[in-house]
Symmetry: none
Subunit: 189 residues, 4 copies
DNA sequence: AGCTAATCGAGACGGTACGTCGCGTCTTTCG
DNA sequence: CGAAAGACGCGACGTACCGTCTCGATTAGCT
């Protein structure tokens, strides 16, 4: 069917792994295509055949990070949101801050990187939005704010602390965020 | 007092202005030190004597953007917060997004840069915190959330949209943020 | 056999030619690597891939000057030595003095350069030595001096005038040298 | 009489000494005016007030090297020439070869350096010329060669070996040179 | 079995920018 | 007025990186 020599299936994994290591070490700018190829034991030609630019390579690497996060809504928005936001916070804390920052910078520069980064979070953000929407429909959340804004106010502070203020993000903070958004827990009074 | 030839005071202003122009035109990567020096009518050595690297130059440029923002609390938290958050949003929008993102990346890598960036916003964030605190004391804001969290929820979403989702930040959005934080305006019902 | 892309054979010639032109115009210091690359229509990186420094480039250029000099001994040592020494003097005069001097300086610093410079003259000096030896065997040269010393006394003064005294080297001077070494021409008395 | 602060008399010596040390270490190109000034504990301005360029500084340094060499002609040209040429050879061997070579290179580039180098040797070369002339007048040297050429043939080979062939210069070689120039010693037969 | 087509490794190449070094000039303050 | 200190302009050097290119060697499917 396909004529010539088939592509080496191991190349992709080795290159993306090498790229990840380079990115961890030196961020986006510190990632050198030459070094990635070298570290992966692959010719630069081979690399460029698959990803037409450094940005696209990083995009692919990021996309590969997307892990399927199992989430089953329990119906209790307070519990569900806490679980979801905690998951996001945990993921953000698992990688070096510089990586997140460099990714944001690359996203600002390269539209394609931006898309891939957004796609990375899409699933989780959609889940958050869904929970918020359902809670509002059930009257459990004050209705004077749009769901989109509430999502931003739940997730945005995580990035804000990470990239701007540098203040710590712990489970207490996540609870405070949810608490502030949903209002006081009626069952606890 | 100081022995040698004093530094040409005009250099700094000319260089930073040139750097700003270059940054606006082509982002961080598009900013060439040679071109900046050329445009500022300054030798590259002179430039490097003051800022030891391109990154430091950009940091200095950003720091120079800190404008004293006159703010007089009116006593009405709704109006004051809208004004303050609008000011922050305006400033963020006035410079290229890449600049903000690159700044965040540099801040993550270099503690010194992080400090300078935080110092950049310190004044405004203090003002927001003060207004929130006063409003809570006056009973105009629901008291179930700490002021620090509320500040994060007011300002964080701006960065979040800018650096992550890429969604637009307009005056309507700012109003929604304030609205969501303070609750429905009682005077409007 | 050789794996990668083969080197562009035209590069070397074009660069060395450009370097020669620059050297003629402004001497060693006046030779700018950037300008050479530009004039040769070659990227500076390409140039540095072959010659790791400006000095090595100049050395290569000099080495390239070695021209096969046809020499057929006539049997008359007076005529042969005059021809050979004139040839050396002509070559020395054809290039800027600074080039010769810089070469000697480089040779003193870098053994490898020294070798290449000596190799440059090897052929001609061997010819001079051969002629002197033959003449001595034939009794045409006073035998109280070793051939090696006579060669030094024939060729050394050329360098001496060029590099030290700065006095001119013309055909009359060459004749005087040969005359002084061989003694008066018996046929002319 | 003279207004203002008098010149610091120690400056000159300290600078020339520092320049000599730099020149020994790295040759003419390796000598940096900034470093010389620093090492001498002198401001660059002060240095440039005295010597208008790096070349002139080196000239002054070389001139300072000229040592008065006592020489009393004995009347025996063979002995006198041996003594003189040995003295030159000794001086040449006392300093690093690179220094001699760099000096020659600088002389070729900078006319003023050339003059100073020639002046350095003037005294000794004049002595050699005088002895040769006297010997010729006394009929002790074959008269078919001009004194100037004979001088070149006595001194030139020293530079030739030093800068070109790299062959050693010892007392035996000096004797051979004199021997070759004056012819066989009649007293020894 | 031979031809054809695609892949891979290796490295040359152009272009652009970076940061450093050196020279010689200048502008100050201090003695 | 000399000296110290250091800023400044200019120009060159050598390095790093990106993305393109040109090779030879390999590995398949197709005729």
């Amino acid at each position: 069917m396909v004529r010539g020599r088939p592509r080496d299936t191991g190349v992709e994994a080795r290159v993306l792994e090498a790229a990840m290591a380079e990115m961890r070490a030196g961020g986006y700018d510190g990632l050198s295509v030459d070094r990635v190829a070298d570290r992966a034991g692959v010719a630069k030609t081979t690399l460029y055949r698959r990803w037409p630019s450094k940005a696209e390579l990083v995009v692919a690497m990021i996309t590969g990070l997307r892990a399927a996060v199992p989430f089953e809504p329990s119906g209790d928005p307070r519990r569900d949101l806490t679980e979801l936001v905690t998951g996001i916070a945990t993921t953000l804390s698992a990688v070096p801050t510089t990586l997140i920052a460099d990714l944001a910078a690359a996203a600002a520069r390269e539209p394609r990187v931006g898309e891939s980064v957004r796609a990375l979070w899409a699933e989780r953000h959609a889940a958050v939005t869904a929970v918020i929407g359902q809670a509002q429909a059930d009257g459990l959340v004050p209705g004077h704010a749009s769901p989109a804004v509430l999502v931003d106010q739940l997730v945005g502070p995580l990035y804000y602390r990470l990239l701007v203020t540098g203040e710590p993000i712990d489970s207490a903070y996540v609870r405070e965020l949810v608490h502030s958004t949903l209002g006081p827990d009626p069952e606890k009074s």
